[in-house]
């Protein structure tokens, strides 16, 4: 396949950045999207150019490190797929592909397609945990958990922290990410003691980081590689309102 790539290039946080066009030829349909970029990068290196910087690690859709906006869609149009799991067979020969970094003020660009997502860590720091020091836990069977609750908690817990939800949200909101963690812990008995304080602290931190508010447009869940459902946001809202009512 032959493709035209329009890639956001920005040499550092202070650079204004621009779109640069590359033509790549003989791309194999079996390549993953990142492998296609690898090949382009090797070429760029040999030509003495700076290769395109992008984040990636596991390349199997679980670490949450990769992510770019492909043709205007976070992680590309393939549903429930991270960028690293996207394969070139889903593109047409001769296509033009636009590749951009996540865009959000709390995700400043570091270089090219690499952004700083440490704001997510700070949201977790605000309360996304159960306070249980090592060695102080009771026997695992001392508290049974309904299977339905465990499964629903699991569904929320699968968030990989990639940030696609923020990239896709017209408001640049981190609600889906934050709600996924709040819901995961809210649904388990172990998460109850800190439930309301957690919701309040995390939502407030999300605001403090400069993310937008959610207006329930649902773009986030549509691009989320793990399909985190929107009702996690309702759960977050409910916990948050209860926390404030207190």
């Amino acid at each position: 396949m032959n493709l035209t790539l329009k890639v956001w290039r920005q040499s550092g946080p202070k650079d204004r950045g621009r779109m640069v066009t590359y033509r790549v030829e003989d791309v194999s349909p079996d390549m993953s999207f990142l492998e296609m970029l690898d090949v382009l990068n090797e070429r760029l290196i040999l030509e003495g150019d700076d290769p395109i910087a992008f984040d990636h690690d596991c390349r199997e859709g679980i670490c949450g490190m990769c992510g770019m906006v492909i043709n205007g869609v976070a992680h590309g149009e393939q549903v429930a797929t991270t960028t690293c799991q996207l394969h070139m067979r889903h593109f047409e020969d001769g296509a033009t592909i636009t590749i951009e970094p996540w865009r959000a003020a709390p995700f400043p660009v570091i270089k090219d397609l690499v952004v700083d997502r440490s704001s997510f860590d700070r949201i977790i720091q605000a309360g996304g945990f159960v306070s249980v020091p090592a060695g102080s836990a009771p026997d695992a069977h001392s508290v049974p958990v309904r299977k339905e609750d465990a499964d629903a908690a699991f569904d929320a817990a699968t968030c990989i922290g990639c940030g696609a939800c923020v990239a896709a949200c017209p408001n640049g909101s981190a609600s889906l990410f934050t709600a996924a963690k709040i819901t995961h812990l809210s649904l388990l008995p172990q998460g109850q003691p800190e439930r309301l304080s957690r919701a309040k602290a995390m939502v407030d931190q999300m605001d403090a980081e400069g993310f937008g508010g959610c207006t329930n447009t649902g773009e986030c869940t549509a691009v989320c590689p793990k399909g985190i459902p929107l009702d996690t946001i309702a759960q977050m809202n409910s916990d948050y309102l209860k926390a404030n009512a207190k």
Partner: protein
């Protein structure tokens, strides 16, 4: 490559006495640090996987000042996140006869009698606490309708002791540790440095006192000091270029610590996983693991004829070779990982492999679908099938899957004693980065257990005993400068070669060489060839690599080049270790050492020891043997016929 033999290692610091009492004894014997002093003690933890994340969080909880490092943009992305299958623990919740002793026994045996009994017993003992800890943190393990935890049997174990969270056990456990870590960061006991790569260890007055790291965003070379350093930097399977490891997994941290005096134990022990998605072309950048559970219902076969190019559906049963069922009628498709892997390689070497390059065998669900119905198969394996289709574009309900073995885990690593301390005082090594508990082969679902056992329960106790002597005062400026200069020199050198090949192209070539000559089966001849080729390739690397850009910014080419440089050195030691160990054991198969059935043949007479390699400045490694004794589990040869 030459080596010399040094003194035997006699004392591993494991307490004497009955095995059930040793850990209790050690815990009691370990000196305590008084709480007021803890605040004055700094600990550096490199790595935020299950091992490092849990250790940093726990040390923070205990009141030490912790600095934690990882090369990703968040501690949550460490490669532990990718583990699918599950985590073992001797809870015996099913009452199916499991016990600490049985887990201990299975692990020693599974490790093909190349692991230390004391360590393994402790691992089994602590395993039960891990599950309690994880559940209390909110890890959503699979549950039964009664609300209790579900378990399954894994990797040929006869009891059901593997706890799991769908196919994402590593992820959920790591998020638990990550959340505990973030809690400590918020509390101010842990300072987190993401996108920081450790490039050297600072050893001052014979003690590990800090690290030199590169801020990967700004390129700044920074020095960080502490009273003890913990390495939890994971495995080095990427020396093969293609492996199931994440792209960033590297040996840099442990290798440079090795160069500063830490012994490297059993570098040649690598585990090959039989069910990975095969390579699709030269562009392949990594391999994806398919859960082993697929072998419960899939049947493995290749065409009887060589170079049979017919579509799998067109090959009648009579012309198929279900070779695992044929050779191992008792275990069939469920033979252990190394046997299944080698058998696949053998049939492909005969020219009967399928798919691109003939490097693949079929894993066929036709019969399972016929027997159980498509729905039942989908229910059991739906997400795995989907993953396969996503990557290959083929529908496994209709065409058989193609699988091939791939490098998965490295049992070797830095040598540590019972306290998880390396040969450099104050340098502790945990998780996959150390060599300790799995011997020559790791059981499925035991790596997660080991990482968390080390991080939550073992290290926090044993490191206290060391730190009780601290704080250790100022760090020798000369030692620091030396380490920093070494790092800067290496970077400058890489930046200045300006040759004509990319770091990746060298890495791929090294990987292929290692796979061909030091892979699934190794011969004296192949290893000698590798030992000849590696230095040549390394020389070419240093003369002809091309790194673009500047070192003072985010430079992913430079990062890669630095890692590849260390892989060369490690690869050489791996081949040497494999050459010297002329027996077969566990994941290490020397073709010269097999029985008449082609099974691995151990040589307990000569090789019942750990090979711990010391780096010497003149480049001649020194081999220290740590003899292994088995008081509890009787040595036996395994057989799966």
């Amino acid at each position: 490559m030459n080596f010399v033999e040094g003194a035997e290692i006699r004392d591993t610091k494991a307490p004497a006495g009955p095995i059930e009492e040793r850990w209790e004894k050690r815990k009691f014997g370990a000196r305590l640090v008084n709480p007021a002093n803890k605040r004055k003690l700094d600990v550096i933890v490199v790595g935020t996987g299950l091992a490092g994340g849990s250790a940093a969080a726990t040390l923070g909880e205990l009141g030490y000042n912790v600095k934690s490092f990882c090369y990703q943009d968040s501690p949550r992305r460490a490669h532990s996140i990718a583990a699918q299958g599950g985590i073992n623990a001797a809870k015996n919740y099913r009452g199916d006869g499991d016990s600490i002793y049985r887990l201990f026994y299975d692990t020693v045996k599974g490790g093909d009698f190349r692991a230390r009994e004391s360590n393994v017993y402790r691992l089994a003992e602590v395993s039960v606490n891990i599950i309690d800890q994880a559940v209390a943190q909110g890890v959503p393990f699979a549950r039964e309708y009664g609300g209790l935890l579900d378990t399954r049997s894994f990797g040929g174990a006869q009891v059901s002791r593997t706890f799991y969270a769908r196919g994402q056990t590593g992820q959920q456990l790591l998020l638990g540790a990550y959340q505990a870590l973030e809690r400590q960061i918020a509390a101010g006991t842990v300072e987190m440095f993401t996108r920081h790569e450790m490039l050297d260890l600072i050893v001052s007055d014979g003690r590990a006192r800090g690290v030199i790291v590169r801020d990967m965003v700004t390129g700044d070379i920074e020095r960080h000091f502490a009273d003890a350093v913990v390495l939890a930097t994971g495995g080095y399977g990427n020396v093969f270029y293609l492996s199931t490891n994440a792209k960033g997994c590297n040996t840099t941290a442990i290798w440079r610590a090795h160069e500063r005096g830490a012994y490297f134990a059993n570098p040649c022990y690598t585990q090959i996983h039989p069910t990975c998605i095969p390579v699709s072309g030269d562009h392949q950048s990594k391999l994806t693991l398919m859960s082993e559970s697929l072998r419960n219902d899939g049947r493995v076969w290749v065409p009887l004829r060589k170079n049979d190019s017919r579509a799998p559906g067109d090959i009648p049963d009579a012309e198929r070779d279900y070779y695992l069922e044929r050779i191992y009628p008792a275990f069939g498709n469920l033979v252990p990982r190394d046997i299944a892997s080698r058998a696949a390689k053998n049939v492909c070497d005969e020219g009967r492999g399928v798919g691109p390059g003939g490097l693949g065998v079929y894993l066929d669900f036709r019969d399972a679908i016929g027997r159980l119905g498509r729905d039942a198969v989908e229910k059991k394996y739906g997400n795995l099938f989907e993953m396969y289709e996503r990557i290959t574009g083929e529908n496994p309900y209709e065409t058989p899957m193609r699988i091939y073995p791939a490098v998965h885990y490295t049992m070797g690593g830095l040598w540590v004693d019972y306290d998880l301390q390396s040969t450099v005082p104050g340098l502790f090594v945990i998780g996959e980065a150390n060599f300790s508990d799995h011997g020559a082969n790791r059981l499925g679902a035991s790596a997660l257990m080991q990482g968390l056992a080390d991080g939550y329960f073992v290290l926090p106790t044993t490191i206290g005993d060391y730190l009780a002597d601290g704080p250790f005062g100022d760090v020798d400026e000369e030692a620091v400068a030396a380490a920093e200069v070494a790092v800067r020199t290496k970077i400058d050198r890489l930046m200045s070669v300006n040759g004509t090949r990319t770091p990746d192209s060298f890495h791929r070539e090294l990987g292929k060489l290692m796979w061909d000559y030091c892979g699934m089966d190794r011969t004296e001849e192949s290893l000698r060839k590798a030992l000849e080729r590696i230095p040549e390739l390394r020389q070419e690397f240093w003369e002809n690599v091309k790194v673009t850009g500047v070192a003072e910014e985010l430079n992913q080419t430079l990062e890669k080049a630095g890692r590849v440089a260390d892989f060369f050195d490690l690869a050489e030691l791996m081949c040497l270790d494999a050459l010297v160990r002329s027996e077969s054991c566990g994941g290490h198969f020397r073709a010269e050492s097999q029985d008449s059935d082609g099974e691995a043949l151990r040589d307990d007479e000569n090789f019942a020891h750990v090979s711990a390699w010391e780096h010497s400045p003149d480049g001649t490694p020194v081999l220290h043997k740590e003899p292994l004794e088995y008081e509890y589990v009787k040595m036996s040869q395994r057989s799966y016929k």
